[in-house]
């Protein structure tokens, strides 16, 4: 059985400032949607694998975000925690169509 991807419209492009994240709540799920300085959008789960820090409030540098709690460095595009720490966060596909930003659930 093939599962159809679900596409959820979350915000307008202009509602997220470059180099910042925005908290998106979908049901139980809290997602951190980032707009990088290169204007790409990426979404990851809004919980640091270390001790649950809210990643959306971290400092964004390039494609990484630094957790505001204990400074773990996480790649926003892959969800991978950077050396020397280890772990990963869930990532979500993001699509930008016109002025709208969508998150995809596969």
């Amino acid at each position: 059985m093939k599962k159809i991807a679900e596409r959820v419209k979350v915000v307008k492009v202009e509602e997220v400032a470059k180099g910042f994240g925005k908290t998106i709540r979908i049901g139980e799920l809290e997602i951190a949607l980032f707009r990088l300085n290169n204007d790409h959008f990426h979404a990851i789960e809004n919980r640091c694998p270390h001790r649950g820090g809210v990643l959306v409030e971290g400092i964004v540098s390039g494609q990484h975000v630094f957790c505001p709690m204990h400074d773990w460095k996480i790649d926003i595009t892959t969800g991978k925690v950077q050396e020397p720490d280890r772990g990963c966060v869930r990532t979500f596909e993001v699509e930008v169509i016109g002025e709208d930003v969508y998150i995809l659930f596969l």
Binding site: G19, K22, P49, I59, S61, C88
Partner: protein, 805 residues
């Protein structure tokens, strides 16, 4: 090819390290299962001492988190104990009845604390110090009970005792011998150590043999062989460890003190290996991590059938992890017979160094008071380096003198440089070549070396020098601003001034940052330095600020925020209190708390509500989150107090209005008391004022926080206007010369109080500093007002999006 099944018993430091080494060699070779009795993933046992001492938390000492096991397809059985090994059928049976088949089996069950076989040793309140559970038990006990006795004056006992002191307990260390740490120290060092620890508040009972623990259900008293007794309600047994070999014995492996292994860590039964504290090699069962790392490497290679240099035993060194005490010991540290000692003993400064030689070879060392040379000496000892007479003398010189030949150069790639994290010379060299590390900080970020105790920094720096050769730049080794650059803070500031750099990205570009957009260390500091240098032109970069400063509120554990409006000088009125009460009700504040800085913190406000709360309060931001002036605490002073000599409240309010909102390297706290009774605690503030008959005394560099420091007298002036002038000049001087995140308590020590006084006492410099501060003050507006007035900011920073499903 079918993978072989590798099973590890013991999810601890040695076992998991071995698995890591195996995975480094090949991820395909084995299907791996790990059985661990503790309910946690592998953690750094060494750091339990630091957990107990409050320097870190249980959550922060994990070495391999759950996801590591998953990512490497390791089957993990936690809270499960291996109770039986079927050596013929090749199965491990657990207490849950699980049968786990193996092709190769590694036993890494560590040690068990030695429990004195005396009556009462099973009472409530008697614990050991080995794992997370013990640590938590001690922390909990400290909340209810007050008198602790630690049995055993060795490394572990003393670290436990220090931890219990930090937890507010009364601590007595009971020791059988007459020298503390007798396995590592000679009598001189031991007595210095004792004096030092007594100074920290520890009590000692030496040459005391504990014979019984008495009390009701819980321990109440310790009894000794000489008839003496002491009262206590917590007993920590730290009288030694013994290898945990129960399982191995029962399986029929040859054991002595530990499980006997050969140079390839093989036990007496084929396909079974032992590693770590449970193993005995050449008559020695080690109790430290460095040997385990060496063993793990050999075992991994052996088990993967690679050519391997047999394990030859380890020489060990120890360092006591008690802050404020530096003790180091390595190798054969007691002289006698062929072994001759060279020592210096500075009784005045309590510095002691002893080196032990066998002929020209250095075989052991003890350092007290300054252990920075420890790692270097240790490496010489491991090499049994030949020492010429000139070098011999220079070894005893204080740090800074050049050592003749580099020890690091002669080390093998496998040799461990960072003992705490098991990082070898080879991995560091690799990081230099492949990841472009050029500084100690860079190495730390890439490999974790020097991350725990930092004792290996000097060796890493040397290794950088050797490896980089020509391209080694000594200036890279200084403290750089962060891992993204080879420039120090001072150099960056100079470049910003000279090249008139105006933007963080411009700084990174022009000064050749190795990252495109910096990191969480350089971004906030550059943002500060740029603002300090170009107060008018620079546009503050919100995206380079930490969350609290970006959202102008204090983020709490649960993700809600605390809001603290300004109350100048700690003075308020009924109108403000009414507004605070209304806001607290309307936005369902979870707590109202009077802060240490004499104002009110409204806790439990949701992020989305912050702008509304500010608007309704209609008070200025108290900057309780900021690296800037926090509060000016005042006493009630002459207005009401019968002792008051000055109007402390008015002066406090004037100071607060003068300095508020202007950014500084770190937070800045002030106080004004109107007489030497000092009700506003001016003696522990960054800048404190004490009114005296006919004038004011000004105190600087005080700190009432983590690094308690009483303030130094900066000087005395006659009028309140002069106080404001001095305080402003002082604040501006700190702004200009402070390192980002350096409190004034550290800054004063770095700069030297006398040097600061010279600047402050020069009327011309004071005036110039005041003028520069005036400029910085002109451009600042209240951040809450600014956000309230901007729909864009409100939307971008504070709104969350909730999507209906």
């Amino acid at each position: 090819m079918n993978k072989k099944r590798l099973v590890l018993i013991g999810n601890g430091m040695a076992g998991v390290k071995t698995v890591e080494e195996i995975l480094k060699i090949s991820k395909e070779r084995f299907e791996i299962a790990i059985i661990g009795e503790e309910p946690y993933p592998n953690y750094n046992r060494i750091l339990l001492s630091k957990v107990l001492q409050g320097d870190t938390t249980v959550e922060d000492i994990t070495l391999n988190d759950w996801s590591w096991y998953a990512q490497n397809d390791i089957q993990l059985f936690t809270s499960e104990k291996a109770i039986h090994i079927e050596t013929v059928e090749k199965n491990v049976i657990t207490n849950n009845g699980t049968t786990i088949p193996y092709d190769e089996l590694i036993i890494a069950t560590g040690s068990k604390p030695f429990i004195l076989p005396i009556p009462g040793n099973d009472k409530e309140g008697v614990t050991t110090f080995r794992d997370i559970r013990d640590t938590v038990e001690m922390v909990n006990a400290s909340k209810k009970y007050h008198r602790a006795a630690v049995i055993g004056g060795g490394l572990l006992g003393l670290e436990a005792a220090r931890g219990l002191l930090n937890l507010g307990m009364d601590v007595t260390v009971v020791h059988l011998g007459n020298n503390l740490m007798d396995r590592q120290l000679d009598a001189t060092a031991a007595s210095l150590l004792k004096a030092d620890l007594e100074g920290q508040g520890m009590r000692f009972l030496l040459e005391k043999n504990t014979t019984a623990i008495t009390g009701g259900k819980r321990v109440e008293r310790l009894k000794f062989s000489d008839g003496e007794e002491i009262d206590c309600d917590l007993v920590v047994m730290a009288a030694g460890i013994k290898p945990n070999i129960e399982l191995a014995q029962q399986a029929g492996l040859t054991t002595n003190r530990g499980i006997i292994v050969n140079d390839y860590l093989q036990t007496s039964i084929p396909h079974i290996y032992a590693v770590g504290e449970c193993a005995e090699h050449n008559g020695i069962a080690y109790g430290l991590v460095a040997p385990l790392f060496e063993q793990s490497k050999v075992l991994a290679q052996a088990i993967c059938e690679l050519d391997v240099t047999p394990y030859q035993g380890s020489i060990v060194s120890t360092q006591l992890k008690v802050s404020g005490v530096e003790v180091f010991s390595a190798g054969e540290f007691i002289e006698g017979g062929e072994k001759k000692a060279l020592r210096i003993f500075d009784e005045q400064d309590a510095l002691y160094k002893k080196l032990v030689f066998n002929g020209k070879k250095i075989v052991g060392a003890v350092l007290f008071g300054d252990s920075r040379e420890g790692t270097r000496l240790f490496s010489m000892i491991k090499k049994q380096a030949d020492i010429s007479d000139t070098v011999k003398v220079s070894l005893l010189q204080p740090i800074g003198g050049e050592a003749e030949e580099s020890v690091v150069a002669t080390m093998d790639a496998e040799e461990i440089i960072c003992g705490c994290n098991g990082v070898s010379k080879g991995s560091i060299v690799q990081a230099i070549h492949e990841q472009g590390c050029i500084s100690v900080d860079g190495i730390k970020a890439c490999t974790s070396a020097s991350r725990s105790c930092g004792g290996c920094k000097s060796m890493i720096s040397e290794l950088l020098e050797i490896t980089l050769g020509e391209s080694f730049k000594p200036e890279f080794q200084k403290e750089t601003l962060c891992g993204c650059t080879s420039l120090s803070r001072d150099e960056v500031i100079e470049e910003i001034r000279n090249k008139k750099l105006m933007h963080t990205r411009e700084v990174m570009n022009v000064l050749g940052w190795t990252t495109l957009e910096g990191c969480s260390k350089c971004r906030p500091s550059l943002n500060y330095y740029l603002g300090m240098i170009h107060p008018v032109e620079y546009e503050d970069e919100n995206e380079s600020r930490f969350v609290n400063e970006r959202l102008h509120a204090n983020i709490q554990k649960d993700g809600s925020f605390g809001v603290v409006p300004r109350m100048y000088g700690g003075v308020t009125n009924s109108d403000q209190l009414r507004k605070i009460a209304d806001v607290a009700d309307k936005y369902k504040a979870k707590l109202l708390k009077v802060t240490g800085g004499q104002r009110i913190d409204i806790f439990g406000i949701e992020k989305e509500d912050l702008p509304k709360v500010w608007e309704e309060l209609d008070m200025p931001s108290g900057y309780a989150y900021g690296k800037t002036l926090r509060t000016v605490k005042t006493c009630v002073g002459e207005t009401f107090c019968r002792f008051g000599t000055q109007d402390s409240m008015s002066l406090g309010i004037a100071l607060e209005k003068r300095l508020e909102r202007i950014g500084s390297p770190h937070k800045f706290k002030m106080a004004v008391s109107a007489c030497p009774r000092n009700c506003a605690e001016s003696g522990i503030k960054d800048f404190g004022v004490v009114g005296v008959e006919g004038g004011f005394e000004m105190y600087v560099g005080g700190n009432g926080g983590t690094h308690l420091r009483s303030a130094d007298l900066l000087g005395k002036v006659k009028t309140a206007e002069e106080v404001i002038e001095y305080a402003s000049a002082y604040f501006q001087y700190y702004r200009e010369t402070g390192i980002y995140l350096e409190r004034t308590s550290k800054w004063v020590e770095r700069m030297g109080l006398e040097n600061i006084k010279v600047v402050m006492e020069d009327p011309k410099q004071r005036q110039e500093l005041n003028e520069r501060l005036n400029i910085a003050a002109t451009v600042l507006e209240d951040p809450w007002k600014k956000i309230i007035g901007s729909e864009k900011l409100k939307n971008e920073l504070f709104e969350k999006v909730t999507v209906e499903q």
